[in-house]
């Protein structure tokens, strides 16, 4: 049994259910729960649900401290860029403490950060920064692409005993999809094959999973069978599912909304070039954002971002297909 809800609501559903299940779950952040009508405030009261000042360092740091003291805070950070004013707290505090204390403390926090709001949010708030955090030891990083994964990964994130950075794609917020009824937890480190195929593997994350699926659909009409894999969590990262797919298809295209040298794409390619090299029958191709700050104006914004056309071109090149004029 399932129900259809938007991606944004699915995240809220998981937080609400976990707060009902475990009184140690706290939920706080800027510009939330400021009115007594707020549904979380009504359900869980002002001890567990709080609005904060514009103080990301304190917010994330307090999540860390509350976690060390035995609670499970979820801190809403709104836009991923706002983590940058507090990057030390994201990278160099919570994720280190379990290690440095030889397990004496653990830091079960969830940091929720929206990203990729490429609809005129301009240079400082449209970024795709997840790549910066992917390789931080001790930190888990989550990037759901569907409402079901959005809920299931949030459930798992709250239950996980480590700091989790939860990247919510802002352009997917209103996208609806089926979400299983009842408790729904998606395991970390298990990539999801969003579409099966045999000729070529596309690995994509977040919004670009949908770009990849659209391209796969177009290519299916041309008789090309594309497999689309969504890693879902980029730390831990499921290399095996990708390697197994490439072992069958021999071809890999990686799509990423980040710029090439800040991308998850580069890491995926590197893993396959080392561990799956012998499966490859053609160069791997990366479809990423161009090396540019994102412009405000739509034509310039569009120009630098990956889109279906760019994915199709990469697939054609990888498979040696003749391009089909649009």
């Amino acid at each position: 049994m399932s129900h259809v809800i938007p991606y944004g609501a699915a995240i809220q559903e998981a937080i609400r259910e976990e707060m009902e299940r475990d009184e140690h779950v706290l939920y706080f952040g800027q510009n939330m729960a400021t009115s007594p009508d707020d549904p979380f405030l009504r359900a869980f009261g002002p001890e567990r649900v709080r609005v904060t000042p514009i103080s990301e360092t304190a917010e994330i740091g307090m999540a860390t401290g509350a976690a060390m003291a035995g609670y499970r805070p979820v801190v809403e950070l709104y836009m991923a860029e706002f983590t940058l004013v507090a990057a030390d707290q994201v990278v160099n505090e919570g994720p280190r403490f379990h290690f440095m204390s030889k397990g004496a403390v653990s830091v079960p926090t969830v940091m929720v950060a929206g990203y990729g709001f490429t609809c005129g949010w301009a240079g400082q708030a449209t970024g795709s920064l997840y790549g910066m955090f992917m390789g931080v030891p001790g930190l888990k990083v989550v990037m759901p692409s569907t409402p079901a994964d959005a809920k299931g990964l949030m459930t798992t994130a709250i239950r996980d005993d480590n700091p989790v950075l939860y990247f919510r794609h802002q352009l997917l917020l209103l996208t609806e999809g089926e979400v299983p009824d009842g408790e729904h937890a998606v395991p970390f480190g298990v990539a999801d094959v969003k579409r099966e195929g045999s000729d070529l593997t596309i690995v994509a994350t977040g919004l670009t999973v949908h770009t990849a699926l659209a391209a796969a659909e177009t290519l299916a009409r041309r008789g090309v069978s594309v497999e689309v894999i969504d890693p879902r969590t980029i730390a831990p990262f499921d290399v095996d599912t990708i390697l197994a797919s490439v072992a069958r298809t021999g071809h890999l295209v990686v799509v990423d909304q980040a710029t090439r040298h800040a991308s998850v794409a580069a890491v995926v390619v590197a893993e396959v070039a080392e561990l799956g090299f012998d499966s490859l029958r053609a160069p791997i191709s990366m479809v990423t954002a161009l090396d540019s700050t994102i412009a405000y104006s739509q034509p310039v914004e569009d120009y630098v971002l990956p889109d279906e056309h760019k994915v199709l071109t990469a697939v054609e090149k990888t498979l040696g297909l003749a391009p089909v004029p649009a």
Binding site: A122, L171, L174, A295, Y296, S297, V300, V304
Partner: protein, 351 residues
Amino acid sequence: MVVGNAMNGGTAEALGPERLVWIYTQMFRIREFEERVKSTFTDHPGIIRGHTHLADGAEASIVGCIAALAPGDQILTSYRCHGYPIALGTDTKLMMAEIYGKANGLCGGLGGSMHLYDPPRGLLGGSGIVAQHLPHAAGAAWVAQIRHRGEAIVCFFGDGASKQGAFHESLNIASLWKLPVVYVMENNNYNSRTRTDQEDANAAAGEPLSTKAKAYAMEGITVDGGDPVVVYATMTEALARARAGEGPTLVESLVYRLSAHGNLIAPPGVPLRYPDHEAIAIFGNRAEYEAALRGDPVPRFRHRLVIDGTLRDVDADSIEAAARAEIDEAQRFALDSPWPEPDSGLRYVYA
């Protein structure tokens, strides 16, 4: 710590009728511009993307500050940045075209509403990330200090920004180094959907936010940001102190924004528009909002200039008509301007 009207009379005289009328003119131009930005959401849906933040309600504070600047002074701003360049003389056509994302925009459509730059007129830019331009202002003030030309920097930001670490770090250094900078906090009592007393320990204790200056051994002052003459007087003094090497000032300017924090924000496809002010939409406090409307600084200042004989009603009317015509023209220019070339940004990634 609120500066009363006492000094106000004298300052108004010192300013003289021409400057007072200039101030009113800029206030009205800003208001007209902002209302046109707002109405664009309904009159030309889809033209404005992303997020805009309007200065309506803060015109008196903005123009009072800009009026106190001397040539060579520079300013830095937050994302709520339409008002200052208008008062500095930036072409409203270029501004509107920027907000519409057009090739002829002030920044060729690369910046947008939150990122306006006009260095020749003293607008060095700012930041869309809350409070991050406060250190930029200190850096520019360091340069002003060692250039020894008597120039100063003014940095504008919101009440909410004073809860960000960058505020704290910047004001300490600015005071320690006696930098020629004035920090102007436009306290509109809201950070987006949060009331100041929900997020600020001073506010919750009933203290003015200029109290924070004490943590930096800095001058702190709270003024009625609805009165451009009071603001001008305060800024003139603060700037004089700054130029004289006597250190920076934290000016808390009490304003009320007359629009919501910004337009609604949503993924493409959902129509964007301005919702009700948070006093109404979040807190159900229509009375607060209506009181603010009654205190609207733009008609309040017109009224005062008319009453004291500085401005005749008919002259006020023609100032307003001229502003309307100017903004009509700006909007037409912006609507008619072409979109930027898709690859036009790539030339500006690196200098």
